[in-house]
Subunit: 136 residues, 2 copies
Amino acid sequence: MKNRRSFLKKAVAGVTLAGLIPFAKSSNAGEVKITGALMHHVFFWLKEPENKAHRKQFEKAMNDLIRVETIKMSHIGIPAATEERGVVENSYTYSYMVMFDSLNDQNIYQKHPIHLKFIEKNSHLWDKVVVYDSVD
Amino acid sequence: MKNRRSFLKKAVAGVTLAGLIPFAKSSNAGEVKITGALMHHVFFWLKEPENKAHRKQFEKAMNDLIRVETIKMSHIGIPAATEERGVVENSYTYSYMVMFDSLNDQNIYQKHPIHLKFIEKNSHLWDKVVVYDSVD
């Protein structure tokens, strides 16, 4: 059970860090299967993935972007050092995953000034973007 | 705030449905930024995506697969009806996302009997698989 709890503790820590009230302080944690959500997962290939200034700018931009209020959950990452297998795509620079309650909330996000500013200020940094939207 | 709460309520409902104790009954919900996680996101293209028997088998198989105990969070989906844009990849049949606490937990998952059985019993159904593993 120790391992099962640790993930949720980390998720809760994220909430705390964001200045919000933790929601699971006394939780009896377990597996969480997310339902009723639209997952929007974007992979970015930067033009200069080794350029530290570009990376710094882009990381800040993604962290600003998740402030859009219709986003309910997020994860920002880079390729993991998992085993090399033919089916694993690890050539991207950044993974950006956000979850919404509904298609409508994603539509609000797409047109949100923060999102439009993100594209305007950062699109010159990337070479390629692939987006996967999925609903349960 | 109503919208912000609804997602987490749904997430909690998922926990309840799984027979576990809800962890956020009295939550003051807000945005959750997940940290300290390895996200394993797999897209499957079935050979016969319109075959109802194949879909039924595969959906059950994915739901059995998320019982592996190192999985801390999951989302199983199909392409969303989001706006057609050049960057959106919506040709896949199923999206399968699971989160782990660590690379080690993902390694345990890869070798887990439930996972090996999933591959053995279902790999004939798919034509293509793409895996993205990312860490924050």
